[in-house]
């Protein structure tokens, strides 16, 4: 993350505050900052979303292309994550600066989507061994205000929910070749089923307690954190410890428990919002950055 310069006394002030369940911005240990999510903000993508969590700003565009399936699973589609850190977020991301952070985030996303139930890829296969849909999820990080993993995962779920894949017909052409014909009506699409999509919850250890949704300052004084992928039903879909410090074994079950509950609440809130937004007519004015 962007380097935040804090003196030792400031760090102690934050950590002692957390021990008494009170953080600098008045939240308790299990509170999230204000989240704004908006889908369908970019017109020439198949699905997109914009998210602001506190002062972390993320934008995700999903483009769907035809490609050849992986020989190991011939009738499944593919999903690729690509993360790009814009220098708008921090001057150190200029040129090749943000590469390490973006490869970290894309690896974590690949890890939590690396199972069969997260996204049913078999619906993306078209012709086994020959053609399938390749879903490119491009994440653009516009501002780093701490807790990037959660922000990116919520934005990815929202954009996948908003992704419309054109309904194509496979007709048998001459001597056994198959032709693929695209629908002429752009709105003739089918949506990806995302109710099993996981969300990431980062639980950072500060002193003897742990907090959720750490701001950039709080992140710089917690030296160990657990990033857990949680589904709507509270199951985990991948987990990884981040940071240079170590965790004591007794506190790990507690942290996973918190992650599970918080993850479930996040899912419920997000699904409610997505349902509301789907109901709206899709030609209303998008807020975007105005």
């Amino acid at each position: 993350m962007a380097k935040v310069i804090l003196g030792d006394s400031e760090k102690w002030f934050i950590i002692h505050g957390i021990q008494d369940d009170l953080r600098n911005d008045g939240r308790s240990c299990d509170d999230y900052r204000h989240i704004e999510v908006e889908t369908g903000v970019i017109s020439n993508t198949h699905g997109s979303s914009r998210l602001r969590l506190g002062n972390t700003e993320v934008m995700v565009g999903v483009k769907v292309e035809l490609g050849t399936p992986d020989p190991h699973s011939p009738n499944d589609g593919l999903i690729h994550f690509h993360v790009d850190c814009s220098p708008n977020a921090d001057p150190s991301f200029q040129g090749r600066g943000g590469e390490e952070l973006s490869s970290n985030i894309s690896c974590i996303l690949t890890r939590i989507f690396n199972n069969k139930t997260a996204i049913d890829l078999s619906t993306l296969g078209i012709i086994p061994h020959k053609q399938c849909w390749v879903v490119h999820v491009d994440v653009l990080i516009l501002e780093c205000g701490g807790n990037l993993f959660d922000a990116v995962s919520v934005a990815v779920k929202a954009s996948l929910h908003n992704t419309g894949i054109p309904n194509i017909q496979v007709t048998d052409g001459d001597e056994g070749t198959q032709e693929i014909s695209l629908p002429d009506d752009p709105n003739d699409v089918k949506f990806i089923n995302t109710n099993n999509c996981p969300l990431l919850v980062t639980i950072s250890k500060a002193g003897s307690r742990h907090i959720v949704d750490a701001t950039a300052d709080e992140e710089s004084c917690c030296n160990a954190s657990l990033v857990v992928g949680v589904t709507r039903r509270g199951r985990t879909m991948g987990m990884r410890k981040m940071g240079e410090g170590s965790l004591d074994p007794e506190s790990i079950p507690e942290m996973i428990e918190t992650g599970k509950n918080i993850g479930r609440q996040l899912h419920i809130a997000l699904d409610k919002l997505l349902k509301v937004e789907q109901g709206m007519a899709n030609d209303i004015e998008k807020v975007g950055y105005l």
Binding site: I42, S43, N44, N88, A89, H136, L140, E143
Partner: protein
Amino acid sequence: MAGMELVSDQGYRIDGRKPSELRRIRCNMGVFTQADGSAYIEQGNTKVLAAIYGPHEASNNMRNRVCLDRGFVNCEFSQATFSSAERKKRSRGDRKGRDISAHIKQTFEAAIRTSLYPRSQIDIYLQVLHSDGSLYCACVNAATLALIDAGIAMKDYVCACSASLTKGSSLIDINHVEELAGCAEFSASILPKLDQIIYSELNGRIHQDELGLLVDAVSTGCRDIFAVIDQFVRSRLAETASYFTHS
């Protein structure tokens, strides 16, 4: 291909504008909290975000470019992978990106009063969210708004507009389709009040006396853009000023 039917015989363009009509401009300032100055501009479907960091001490890989008597401008242009219709993973160092950042750097080194910030560096970062033609002009307008938001001293607003030439008449503020049409394209940055051109770029071949036609078209376009931006900045200033004076 050149001279494709850009202007219909009733005088309307493909997206329904008249030849001398700008696309709808909508802008916003102060979009980010961590950048010193930030702005967002939408010219039709071209959407650009700009962020300003500085004036600050030169970062260690730029240390050899520090000049003693004035600040120097460092610019980086990056385009989101999903910004154009066809997905392209552009690494920031590619030719088109470096071109536009070099042009913008020259433009703003002329516009910013760098003598007020000696030995320091001003970073201009531009991120294109959605590209639909005349990227350079949208970036210049966005950078101007961001510099005003950052409170950096400038000689005047810098407004940029592009124009193209078909069948003797000029089209202003061209979009992606008109760019692909292949006729000559002229874009320029202008200081509206001082009425000076500080940067201009022409690609494609035109007859000599048609150049005057293009320059007039672009300067009128820039003056209209200036009017829109200036009106927005004044309304935003009036709004923030009202917070302090309890009128």
